[in-house]
Every structure is written in C-alpha cells, then in structure tokens.
Symmetry: C2
C-alpha cells in the first residue's frame, strides 16, 4: 500500500471532458484496462513526453498527431507498453487511433494514443477495438476516479488530484490523474498523467505553464533512476468555464497546475515499487539549482542510502558519501551540513556535536521525513522526492514478466 | 559465495615486500583485521585514490605522505573506515602512523594508512597500536593470502591475483590483493587494492601505468553505483628482481599490471553484495569511448535490469530503455543491436527476427554472461563489469550497521 495513502481524493469533473472506461481483457481478465477521454470542440491540449531515445510507438504517434491539430480523443490502454516493437508498434498505434476515429467520426490524427505495461510484446489491437464500444457507452463527466484505476499497472492505488482556483472572481476546476510505480525517473515528462481544466488558455500559454510545472514536479521524482520509454503528461484546457483567455502569466492557473502536478508526482513516489517510506531530499545553499539537483539525485538514487532508510537506519555516512560523489569538484566538505527533518546530524566533515542516534533513528523510523543538505555555497535550492529500496522492490521486478 | 569462485589463486611472494597480519579485535573478535606491508628500501610506490569529495581521513593522510617521500610501511585496518570523522579522524590516522614509526624506527610520513569498514565511528587507535607488535612479528614474504583475508569487510571471499612476466629474458613477479563488495563504483581508484612487483621502475612510470590500468579495470566496475570514501589502489615496485629500470612504455609490465588489476576488479564484482551473476556489459560501435562507457553504466546500474537478470529474465525491453536514457541525444535507435553473449535479441527498435525466449533465457540463466550493445555509430568500445541485484543486497545493506 502506498505510503501515507488515505484514499483517492474527490476528483471534480471538468466541464468539456467526458471519460469512458472498459474492461477489455487486454492482458488480464476482469480488470479496467481501457480508458478514453472525449474533449469538447475548442479544447486546447499541451503535453510533455519522455526524453528516452527509445520512445514507445504511441509516444511517437501522439507527438506527431499533436503537432498537427488539436486532439478530440485520448486513448489509453494498460497491460502492454507497445515499446520496443519497431515498425509493427507504429502500425498498431495508428490502427488503434483509426478504430476510435471510425467509431466517433473524427480524423485519425485527432486521437492521441497512450500505452503502459510490459515492453517488447505486441499490442493486442483486436482487444482494444473490441473494448471501445463499451468504453464510449460509458462516457461521463464524473469518471476521473474510474480512469485513475483504468491506467494502473504495478500501481497499488489509483492517483488523482483536484482543485478549484479563482481568477478575477471566476471559478475554475483543474483535475488530474497519474500512474506509475517503477521505471520512474521522468525526464521532461513522467509516466502517464492526464490533467484537465475548464479554463480557456492558448496552447502556447498552456504548454509553457505545463513545462514549468513538470520541471518542478514529475521531473523531480525518482524511484529507481530508470527513465521510462512511455512517459507522457497531457493537460487539456476546455474553456467550458467561460471567461477571458488566461495568459501564460496567470499566476492562479500556474499555481493550481503545479499543485496538481506535485500531488500526482508525489503519489507516484508514495506508491513506488516496494516503498515503505516517502522521502523528500531537499538540497539548499547551492551555487546553482543544477548542482542542488545533482546532489539531491545522488542521494535519492543511492541504493546504499535507500536500503539504510528502508531499515530505519540513520546512516549519515552513506548520505555524506553520496554528496561527495555528486560531481561538485570544488565542494568544501567542511561547509556541508546534513539534517534529518530539522535535526542536524553531520557538519564539518563528521558527526554533528550533540548527535543522538536515538533522535536520528526516530526521524527515519517515520513513514515520511526529509533529508536536508545545506551545501554552504550559495542560495540555490532543489528538492527531489523518492522512496526507500526494500525486498519488495526486488520481488516485484524479479517477478514482473512471469 | 562469490560468482565463479574457485578459491584464491596461489599468490607468489614479491621480493622486497614482507607482510604481517594480526587479529587485533578492532571490531569483531577472532578476525584477522590488521595488516602491515614492509617495503624494502629503494621501493617505489604509486597510487590512485577516491575522487569522492568526502575523502576519508586515512586517504587524506596517505596522499599527503605519498607526496613527500617513498613509503616504507603500509598500515591497513578493517572494521572502521575512519571516514566522516572530521578533525578527530585526521588525528587518529596520524596517530596510527606514529605508532608504526615508533616501533620500526622510521619517520611518520613513511607510513601510509588505509582503513575500511563502517563510516562515522571513531577509529580504535588503541587496539591498532596494541595489535602492531603481533603483526610485525609475523612479517614474511609469503603472506599475501593472509593479507587478502585481513582486509575483508562484507567480502565473502579473499581476492588476489598473481602472475609472472618477462622482459628481455629476465623474469619478474607481480602480485596483488583487493577487497570490496558494496559501495562499489570506483572513480579513479577502487576499494582497497595493494599490488607489488619486484621490477625496477621510476615512480612516474609506475604512476602512469597504474593510472591507465585502473582506468580500464577498477574504474570499469559497479555494484551499486556508490563511490566509496576510502577507495585506494597502491602499487609498489621493489626492484629486487634486479635488471634495468623499466620505462612507462614497457608493454610487458603494463600488460601484467593491467591483467592483475582486471582480475582484482572482477573479483570485487563477483563478490558484489548479494551477487548471483557476473555480467560483462560490452558496448561497441560507439562514436567515442565516453558514450560507450555511459551506455554501459546506464545498463550496469539500472535496478530494473539488475533485478531482471537476478530472476534470469532476458528482459531486453529494460535494457533498451537503459540505452535510450544514457544521454546520447542523437542516437538512432533503429541502428542499435542488442546481444546476450552472441545471441542477437533486439534490432531496429524491437525484438530481433528469430528471437527465441528460451534461447535468451538460457544465456541469462548462467552465472556468467555478457550483455553486448552495438550502437552502430562508430568504432569505439568500452566494457563495464557488474552483478545482479538480489534480495541479499537489500538484506546485507539493511542490516550492515546493526
């Protein structure tokens, strides 16, 4: 069960977006595994995709379609990633879009395909085609929670976030869902995330706000350092709430979008494969944001740090060692201070004066805490969210294909 | 037990080097945990050390001493790393050297200290001092095997390599030992390795040959991607075999040194914490060696790849995903071919024609095999050695301090 899980929050419908789901038997029986989004005419869509050079076929097709026109439908299947399938993968992704277009009377390139699941096995297009009528019959505005369930793979819980924001007295909604638990180190995108708002925004403004929100949310999480081939994050603005077009400088929308992205990104880490702890690695006093990020990732991806934290062991020596190998050549180690939450545990190259093993163990024994590093070099800062490395991570990934 | 372990090979004595060991109760009772090397006058010493910015105190002291004069003694303790101890660590390392100097009538700075074990706990200098007489009484040329045992921490087997080489009809010996199983991603050095030869070489020539040998051996292994604070590799040339001074261009010595370094480095990976498989990641057809190395490490450090290989699962999708995120921005994925040993498993962005799951599973079911990548971009090549990620890795590192 995900760390700190208290149930899926209420996901408010977004006017202009209808969602349908189906159990299409794509890989396993009796599992919700097919999701369609219908976007009202006039909706505007922005997206970020994986930077992995082995982009899955649906990612390639979605990017091509998105470059041409505004989409009317999103089609998402779980079970198979349709990645590493060469030409056949591209044909299968295109055929899935064509099946939607035929049923709904739109153009093929008004459909964006998304797939998640096992890499390197063919997409069962026939089962997707067969499941589509059921999904479209189910179309409803209030189906975000079903969609959150319908995109899960090794996830143990569905993930969603929803909030209201106001601009000049007018009220808007933003709601999003995400999935992901392993192969998580998004690079300019994440595992799958779908966000909708009823605000009216231009595509350029929406893309610019999404890119910034993703940089500080999905691109700041890591479970295992492995960037997926299928990462995609999509936001749709329907404009159904009316009101003027909101610009890229609309602070309220940007904050709401970033808040939703952060919550969805953190939900992925909380549900990280085998995770028993949710850890914020917060690096401050860096010369620039880049070095803060490198130090944060060196800690967040260290198997030695992650296994120690799994054991509830405040092994600050392993954390210092990770800081030391993060690639800051002129780092003055005597100026580095290390904290667990607000408890100083190391300074001047060694254990902090007054260090108490019990006090430190009490912090890392909690399901949620922060590892804080002060580099003593400047005023830049970056945070990364991660989880521990447990027996269950090995079990899940040694068993995944079998 | 280490992968492919068939017992410690016979380690030939090196004229001019005597070794003594003791059970000094440094951390655990009845364990060989203290080792001294006595180097004949006129010996020449070269070394590489960790690039981790948090260098342990003994590393700092050894580097300072080595910069001044040729060492007469190496002092190695296991149990405590004397890292992350601030000023006290430096005082303790210096006090250990002084204890040797006093007993043997040499200068403090003719002693190089080395420590390995837990980080962040004080070095028990008193126990080291108390154990030294026993170690010096035991001094003998034929004690390399005892020394290999005396420097172990989480190692399950001692590690050594020895060979003879000839230059212009004269016969020389080179023998080395190493230790290390976790916190293994050496950077310009390794966990501890000590190598001796009876050849006569200048320090500059020896350092240049060592640096090149280390670059292609210890710096090409990874267990968990964590660079240690205490890495050190030392080679001593005593000149006791007589003959002319060998230059930096002596191919026979360079080959023997590289061979010993490779064998010692591979022994560390074979004994990697929890390792059940020894894997060579061999990347060919790169535009330059640097990109081959990046791709090799992306595969060798991927938790998803390592857990799949632990399970004997030929999960080529995860390997392709690792290649894709290795940072080659202009990689043409259709030109990449992937092999397990000589079996082609992926090409043109997908599964290879004629791929057989059984044949692939047969390769990765073996305790030793190679993952080979052909990038199709040039003629550069780099290999990295690694092991799988098993339940035991988590167990060992969740239990280490307790």
């Amino acid at each position: 069960m995900a760390v700190g899980w208290t149930g899926l929050p209420r996901l408010a419908p977004v006017a202009g977006i209808r969602i349908g789901t189906a159990k299409a038997h794509i890989k396993k029986p009796d599992r919700r595994d097919l999701v369609v989004f219908e976007l009202a005419e006039g909706s505007v869509c922005a997206a970020t995709f994986t930077r992995n050079r082995f982009r899955a076929a649906p990612v390639q097709v979605a990017q091509r379609h998105l470059a041409g026109r505004e989409p009317r439908y999103l089609l998402i299947n779980t079970g198979y990633a349709n990645a590493g399938m060469g030409e056949q993968g591209l044909r299968d992704a295109a055929a899935s879009c064509a099946a939607v277009a035929e049923l709904r009377g739109c153009r093929d390139d008004e459909v964006l395909p998304f797939s998640t699941g096992v890499i390197g096995e063919p997409l069962p297009v026939g089962r997707i085609r067969a499941g589509l009528p059921q999904a479209f019959e189910a179309l409803a505005e209030d189906a975000w929670a079903l969609a959150a369930e319908g995109i899960m793979t090794t996830d143990t819980v569905p993930k969603g976030s929803s909030r209201r924001f106001q601009v000049d007295g007018r009220s808007y909604t933003i709601t999003g869902i995400s999935k992901g638990a392993g192969m998580i180190k998004p690079n300019m995108a994440t595992m799958l995330a779908f966000i909708g708002t009823d605000a009216r925004v231009s595509r350029e403004a929406l893309q610019s706000m999404l890119s910034e929100a993703v940089r500080l949310s999905f691109n700041r999480i890591t479970v295992d350092g492995d960037t997926s081939t299928n990462d995609a994050c999509v936001v749709v603005a329907t404009g159904a709430a009316g009101g003027p077009e909101l610009g890229a400088d609309c602070a309220e929308l940007a904050a709401a979008l970033r808040g939703v992205c952060e919550e969805l990104a953190q939900a992925i880490v909380r549900d990280g494969e085998g995770a028993t702890r949710f850890i914020t690695v917060d690096v401050q006093e860096g010369a620039d944001e880049g070095e803060c990020e490198r130090v944060a990732y060196a800690i967040a991806e260290s198997p030695l740090v992650k296994t120690a934290l799994f054991a509830g062991d405040p092994n600050w020596g392993r954390i210092l060692a990770a800081v030391g190998r993060a690639g800051i050549d002129d780092l003055d180690v005597d100026g580095v201070r290390l904290y667990l939450d607000d408890l100083c545990i190391a300074e001047r190259g060694g254990r902090a004066a007054g260090y108490s093993e019990e006090a430190a163990a009490a912090v890392v024994g909690k399901p949620e805490f922060a590892v804080r590093v002060r580099l003593g070099r400047g005023s830049a800062r970056a945070s990364v969210w991660t989880c521990d490395l447990s027996y269950d991570y090995v079990r899940i990934n040694a068993d995944y294909r079998s």
